[in-house]
Every structure is written in structure tokens, then in C-alpha cells.
């Protein structure tokens, strides 16, 4: 992590917020544009889950993290609170790591 990235990230993130709230204001975008923007979190966050669970650098690996995330997904599916999802996922990962 570098301070350069932190500064650029803060500036970029604020720029989006500022642009919407202050510069563009109460105008509407074409519906198709809004639909696509609304789908960014689903597309990008699911990619982040895949990256953090199944990869190491440029390699695809299957290790203790996959077991932890599988259990976390079941917890989320059963509507468990956030903290339970994270703790269960971490605990499962730790246990599998210990026994393997």
C-alpha cells in the first residue's frame, strides 16, 4: 500500500460523489445507463470474491479459503448477520488450515 494510491483513491472517490451531488445535480441519466451502473457492484464484487478465494497471484488454487467462503455463503444464504458470516468463514478457514 502506498500513500500515492491512498491520495489518488481519495481524490477519485470524492470526485464521483462531488460530480453527482454538486456538478450534475438533480438531472436524470438515460435508464440504460442507470441500469448498467447499478450492476457494477454485483459484477465487480463477485469477481473480487473469486480473486480472494480461488487465486494466488496469477494461479488458480483451491485451499482452505474456499472451504471458509463456502461456509460463509451458506451463512449468508441462511440470512445470518454480517458478523456471523465473517466469523464462520474465518473459523472454517482456520480449522481447515490446521488439519491440512
Amino acid at each position: 500500500m502506498t500513500w500515492t494510491l491512498i491520495v489518488l483513491l481519495a481524490a477519485g472517490a470524492y470526485a464521483f460523489k462531488f460530480t453527482g451531488l454538486v456538478l450534475i445535480g438533480a438531472r436524470t441519466l438515460p435508464p440504460v445507463f442507470e441500469r448498467c451502473l447499478a450492476l457494477i457492484p454485483a459484477a465487480v464484487i463477485s469477481a473480487l470474491i473469486v480473486k480472494d478465494t480461488l487465486t494466488s497471484g496469477q494461479e488458480i488454487v483451491l485451499d482452505a479459503r474456499a472451504a471458509g467462503i463456502a461456509v460463509a455463503m451458506i451463512a449468508a444464504w441462511r440470512r445470518a448477520p454480517l458478523i456471523v458470516v465473517i466469523v464462520i468463514g474465518a473459523a472454517m478457514t482456520a480449522v481447515v488450515r490446521q488439519v491440512s
Binding site: G20, L39, P41, A42, A43, S56
Partner: protein, 253 residues
């Protein structure tokens, strides 16, 4: 550009002249106030998760806390730290994080017509314009309640998010995160973040495309680039939705 802690953790909706001074004593507003504070406390848990994951990914405690203070948009922070921690370049870390930050611009447009106040107050409001503050505000029936919900959630959430980050960063640097499986704090947090979105068919399709593109791209592209490519998943939105009544704002738990 950035917002200092004490200033924004103490929103003051009572300052506006058209509001009675003791809005928090009003019985009718109590359920909304409780909802705003509960949501903020829950997001504090995400903050702990960010703190733990960020130091596990190699950031210092100070860097981790500064990120939460100045960036203040959860998914982007998680994304940037995750990509850098895996060895990605600054460019790819920034690109992925800014893709996730773009929706705050849309929230800003939604909030623009609901917030009173001049430029100074809007500059501060912009920093607080994220998923949760927008969702809480647009859910309120009147303009006055929308503003109270926005500022109350914004202030409480800013405080909880940063306190959570500090606690997580200190805890994460005191123990070995891998021993306790805490390297999955990020993906498990992402699971919790994405789950409420997946009730919509389009979001499920976008998620599947995003995940598949990422997995296919990992062996062939530098670290972080698959995250950028996953944005292809949003093309699902080019098709008109099958059912009406689509909400412009996603509420995440």
C-alpha cells in the same frame, strides 16, 4: 477535498432555520433514528473487517485508518487494498476501486434534489453520499425526514466506520491473521455485501458473468486486471428489465 473527523461525525441537522431544535425528541421520528443508528453500528462491523483485512494485506495501521477517513466508501476501499495486497499495480487497484465508486455519483444525483443548503454544506454532504446514507434518506416519506436520515446516518456511520477500522487494524496487527483465517475477512465481507443485491435476476447474471470473466482472466493477465475486466458483467443491464418497479438505490444490509 477530505473531511475532518470531528466535523462530520457531528452532523447538525438542527442548524437549518426551518427545523425545530429538538428533532431527536420527536416520538414520530424515533423508529427512523433507531434504524439509522442500528445500520451505522452494523456497518462498524464491516469497518472492523476492513481494518483486519487491510493490515493482513500489508497496509500499516496508520494507512488503514487514513483510507477509511478520506476515502469513505466501503467496497472501493476493500477492492483497492485487496488488489494491492495480492501484488497488483497501483493502476489496476485504482481502476477497480473507482469502478465501484462510480455509483456514488448516481446517489449524489438522487440526494441533490433532497438536500437543502448551499455549496459549503453540499461539499460536506458529498463525502457522506454512499449506499447506506442514500438508502436511508430516500426511504423517508418527507423532505425533512430525508435530510435528518441522511445527516444522522452519515455522521453515525462515519464515526462507526472509522472506529471499526481502527479496532480491526489494531487487532489485525496484534495477531497473525492467517492463523485465525482472517485473510478471508475480505471475501467473507464481500459475500455479505453482495448477497442482498442478488435478489434481482439482472444482478445475479451480472455477478455470474463478472466471476466467470475474472476466473478466466486470472492466468493470462497481471494481478488486478481481472477485476477491471469483470465490469463486462454490467452489459447485462443493456437489456430492458423484465419487471418494472426497479429501485435506483440498492440497500445493503
Amino acid at each position: 477535498m477530505t473531511v475532518s473527523g470531528p466535523q462530520s461525525s457531528q452532523p447538525n441537522p438542527g442548524r437549518s432555520p426551518d427545523r425545530p431544535p429538538h428533532w431527536w425528541r420527536e416520538e414520530s421520528l424515533r423508529p427512523m433514528i433507531v434504524a439509522c443508528l442500528t445500520l451505522s453500528a452494523a456497518v462498524g462491523v464491516f469497518g472492523v473487517s476492513f481494518g483486519v483485512g487491510s493490515v493482513a494485506a500489508g497496509a500499516s495501521v496508520l494507512q488503514t485508518c487514513v483510507i477509511s477517513l478520506v476515502v469513505f466508501t466501503g467496497a472501493s476501499q476493500f477492492s483497492a487494498v485487496s488488489v494491492i495486497g495480492a501484488g497488483g499495480s497501483i493502476g489496476s487497484a485504482l481502476g477497480g476501486a473507482l469502478l465501484l465508486a462510480a455509483r456514488n455519483g448516481v446517489y449524489g444525483m438522487a440526494m441533490s434534489r433532497r438536500l437543502d443548503g448551499g455549496l459549503g454544506r453540499r461539499i460536506l454532504a458529498a463525502q457522506l453520499t454512499i449506499d447506506e446514507t442514500t438508502a436511508m434518506a430516500v426511504a423517508q416519506p418527507t423532505r425533512r425526514e430525508q435530510q435528518i436520515a441522511f445527516w444522522l446516518t452519515g455522521g453515525a456511520l462515519y464515526a462507526c466506520w472509522n472506529l471499526g477500522t481502527l479496532i480491526g487494524a489494531l487487532a489485525g496487527s496484534a495477531i497473525d491473521p492467517e492463523t485465525y483465517g482472517l485473510d478471508v475477512a475480505f471475501p467473507a465481507g464481500f459475500i455479505a455485501m453482495i448477497w442482498p443485491l442478488l435478489s434481482r435476476v439482472e444482478a445475479r447474471l451480472a455477478a455470474i458473468v463478472g466471476a466467470a470473466v475474472c476466473l478466466l482472466a486470472v492466468p493470462f493477465t497481471p494481478v488486478g486486471v481481472p477485476i477491471l475486466l469483470s465490469v463486462i458483467g454490467v452489459l447485462v443491464g443493456l437489456r430492458p428489465p423484465r419487471t418494472g418497479g426497479e429501485s435506483p438505490v440498492e440497500i445493503r444490509s
